[in-house]
């Protein structure tokens, strides 16, 4: 493995670490406060295209080390897409199978990608009638497979697995600390399983107790794949409210319009969850005026063309002869 020449013996060596961090790129034209240096950490530069490479790898390694995989036993996981894509590709490259349980509202591109990456799909219609005690349909179905067919499946369970937090504690946090030479003052994250927020914030807080952590969440009834509104967060055991200074609820439509602005003015082909973070960061920059902020941009826009058109119908104009 040679990070300088970027020559690797296998795809696993390319996974991010302090020696091989995902890039930080400064935001220029969309920064509303010139005294505030704002950076995006481009997680889509990871080998399988998203921040979830980190958690997937940490969970898979842990299961391997504990002898939970192999001899026909693979993985089952509820996933909105990114974890599944990383897990499927990693698992198949190591000789295991993955069954991904996905809510029906996940974009078609992601479902097809999951299959291309080698996952077997189980699609559940998730929002029949929200009710107490039901939990999440995809989580319940994955748990059912893991319990009823434990000889075939083990469930990493990204919503409860401490390795999801540890991945960011060991990689994302130290990378950012080193890349900013310890000057980071603000961390901007979005919340899905909360592994990214909790692990990264826990590490950076340990380095700088005055670090501000800002988490964004889309408004209720949102359509931002990968993210959860506060009302949906109780499924995640990894959420640690004490690490978060500001929890901003933002109109989810802005996730799409800000993502488009990132694409068209910064050259950052960012997906909607990154758009939502940018909106949150701009609000905090206007309030705090000075500092050094890092936004975790989880994935790029390529998986979301259908969602982008749905929320920005003008994108469809002029696409037919």
């Amino acid at each position: 493995m040679n990070h300088q020449l970027r020559v690797y013996n296998d795809i696993f060596e390319m996974l991010p670490s302090e020696e091989n961090p995902s890039p930080l790129v400064r935001i220029n034209r969309l920064n509303p406060a010139p005294e505030f240096a704002l950076y995006a950490k481009l997680e889509w530069m990871n080998p399988f295209g998203s921040v979830k490479d980190r958690a997937a790898w940490a969970m898979l390694r842990d299961l391997e080390e504990r002898g939970e995989l192999g001899n026909g036993r693979g993985l089952v996981e509820p996933t909105s897409g990114n974890t599944g894509i990383s897990l499927a590709a990693l698992a198949r490259a190591r000789g295991y199978h993955l069954r991904a349980v996905v809510p029906n509202k996940v974009p078609l591109e992601k479902k097809i990608l999951l299959k291309i990456a080698g996952a077997e799909l189980d699609v559940v219609s998730d929002e029949l009638c929200p009710a107490p005690g039901l939990g999440d349909g995809s989580i319940n179905l994955a748990k059912t497979h893991a319990k009823a067919s434990s000889h075939r499946y083990v469930m990493p369970n990204q919503y409860e697995n401490e390795k999801n937090v540890e991945a960011h504690l060991r990689t994302t946090g130290p990378e950012i600390w080193r890349q900013t030479e310890g000057r980071i003052t603000h961390l901007f994250v979005s919340l899905g399983t909360c592994g990214t927020a909790t692990g990264t914030a826990r590490f950076l807080r340990g380095q700088n107790p005055r670090l501000k952590v800002i988490a964004v969440q889309p408004t209720e009834g949102h359509d931002v794949p990968g993210l959860r509104n506060l009302s949906q967060l109780d499924v995640s055991r990894l959420f640690d409210r004490s690490l978060i200074d500001d929890l901003l609820e933002i109109d989810y439509k802005l996730a799409y319009t800000r993502a488009l602005e990132l694409c068209q003015t910064e050259g950052l082909l960012a997906g909607p969850s990154s758009g939502l973070i940018l909106e949150g960061a701009r609000r905090i920059l206007e309030r705090d005026r000075a500092g050094l902020g890092v936004m975790i941009f989880s994935d790029n826009v390529f998986k979301y063309t259908a969602n982008m058109v749905k929320h920005i119908p003008a994108l469809a104009a002029g696409t037919q002869a």
């Binding site: 219609s125 929002e127 009638c129 009710a131 005690g133 939990g135 059912t144 497979h145 009823a148």
Partner: protein, 281 residues
């Protein structure tokens, strides 16, 4: 148990676990998501499919007495057996199945409190993909007990006279007509809204976060005091296709002890399509 009027129709997950393999106790799983049973079920449980097995395949109706005999007898269930029913979505279709068992006169039917989610989330409760192989028995159902089932004429009369509580258990958006059905549901109607005079009490008001039913005191406070259901009058519960209303029918009849409660299984997919039926929004 929690001061219910008829506690004998509700069993806890621990009770079911302790009775696994007991030959007089038959387990039946009925789900909204018909894939769930195949993915894993309580050992020994048979699975009934509400779409293909609990309805008449040709005309719109519940399965006939004859079909009920074949289905239940084919599952190895005798009239003297204790039938324990459970399912997903906090027992929506399990309650519908329970209603059918009662309608056809089965003596000892019960619901498993909390349904499949509660079982799934308890570490000591096993699941299997193995299907039981029951020996068919002869089952002879009673003629349908129409005291448990409301049909259109009495629904219209209840609305017109106010002599009977009408309980709409759908979501508030369905009640007001903002939507005709929850998103993703294929059975729908020509019109949205609710039956004039109906009270909106969404079915899930009756369950706690674990998925189990609230206590009788809590239920009484909600249904009688807050929502004003009159215990001196009969009651009819309805929803969209009769499954969520079975859940509330169960609450009113067995947990609160209302004497005369009917499930209107035609529900909104019938009422919202009737020419000339009065609708409120």
């Amino acid at each position: 148990m929690a001061n219910y009027a008829h506690p004998e129709v509700l069993v806890e997950t621990d009770w079911v676990k302790n009775n696994l393999g007991n030959p007089g106790i038959k387990l039946v799983e009925i789900d909204v998501d018909t894939k769930a049973y195949d993915a894993g079920h309580v050992p020994g449980a048979v699975g009934f499919n509400w779409q293909t097995q609990l309805q008449d395949p040709v005309r719109r109706d519940i399965l006939t007495q004859d079909a009920f005999d074949k289905l239940v007898g084919g599952a190895g269930i005798s009239p003297a057996d204790t039938v324990v029913i459970y399912g997903d979505n906090n027992n929506w279709f399990a309650a519908y199945g329970f209603w059918l068992f009662k309608l056809y006169g089965h003596k000892d039917a019960r619901l498993m409190n909390g349904g499949r989610v509660k079982w799934l989330n308890e570490a000591d409760k096993p699941l299997t993909t193995e299907r039981p192989n029951p020996t068919p028995v002869a089952y002879k159902a009673a003629a349908p007990n129409n005291a448990l089932r409301a049909l259109v004429p009495e629904v219209l009369e209840a609305s017109r006279t106010g002599k009977c509580n009408l309980v709409d258990v759908r979501s508030p958006d369905e009640f007001t007509g903002r939507v005709i059905a929850p998103s993703g549901m294929s059975e729908t109607a020509q019109r949205g809204g609710h039956i004039p005079g109906a009270k909106s009490i969404p079915w899930n008001t009756a369950v706690q976060p674990s998925g189990a039913f609230k206590t009788a005191d809590e239920l009484r406070a909600i249904y009688l005091e807050q929502k004003g259901v009159d215990p001196k009058k009969p009651a009819i519960a309805y929803c969209r296709i009769g499954e969520r209303s079975s859940h509330t029918w169960f609450v009113l009849k067995y947990l609160l002890g209302f004497d005369q409660v009917k499930n209107y299984d035609g529900s909104w997919t019938e009422y919202g399509n009737l020419i000339g039926a009065p609708i409120e929004k």
